[in-house]
Subunit: 150 residues, 2 copies
Amino acid sequence: MRDQLREIGMIARALDSISNIEFKELELTKGQYLYLVRICEEPGIIQEKLAELIKVDRTTAARAIQKLETNGLITKQDDPYNKKIKRLVPTEQGQALYPVIIREHEHSTDVALAGLSDQEAEQLLRLLKRVRHNIEGDWDAVKKGKKRDY
Amino acid sequence: MRDQLREIGMIARALDSISNIEFKELELTKGQYLYLVRICEEPGIIQEKLAELIKVDRTTAARAIQKLETNGLITKQDDPYNKKIKRLVPTEQGQALYPVIIREHEHSTDVALAGLSDQEAEQLLRLLKRVRHNIEGDWDAVKKGKKRDY
DNA sequence: GTTTTTTTGTTGCAAATGCAACTAAATCAA
DNA sequence: TTGATTTAGTTGCATTTGCAACAAAAAAAC
């Protein structure tokens, strides 16, 4: 049975659910951790790229980011050369949350990979990267209205 | 870098997004395909187990299932021995959608696994099953209010 | 240098999501 | 067999989500 995608869906929902519950005590509402970590890791990234990076709808990202700004965790900075884009940068308060988010994430990774050898964990990562790469094109295309034939 | 969980998240969001868009022309609104396939494969399953199976909040499942019933795709049948539970069964109309959903899913699997050898695809599945198994306990516990230490 | 297309961002809705809080049946404990 | 706990299901409410539809800057085409 080729159940790889189902397993991926189950794992992703379970982990997202756990993270959302655990981050609530940090004043982070649903999904916000996703955007905040990425902004901390790539300060100056713009909204559009961020949405593409984490595979989420542009408008969903827009509102999550808006809320992060309202809550004082990031700022939107104007670019000196491009009046259209807004560069996302964590505030000190946002930065302060980064290690906490990472720690939780590391713990979940420990749990998830328990019992796997280093070789297996690495192999899993390699394979997942290939799968993600394989699927990216379709996501982009379908999002833009392209019809897949099957 | 132990980015396995991030890759899983990206893949899952991308695929879910694609499926939701593609199933809209079948009158299936967001997420419904998830529940319907499982009910078709395991007719008689109850709501609580279904939510646990696909790793989704009980109340979210409740409403998605309610809508499937309203739309005539499944029925909730009383159990003769247990007045509390309701067994979920696809209607003929629901059954009719099953092969369509599977076909889409098979296509996505083709895309996702492109370039992987049979051995690699099998290895991926084995590893994902272990990861899913590893994480299930935590999901259950955290959902029920347990605090993880990390 | 102007027109067309793409990129980036926003807002209006309608719908899904999920935590609390609540029933009621079933199971467990005494 | 009574009382406590767990299981299964529901509803209220606030929030997130995402498709349309839009605006404006930037880039590409001509």
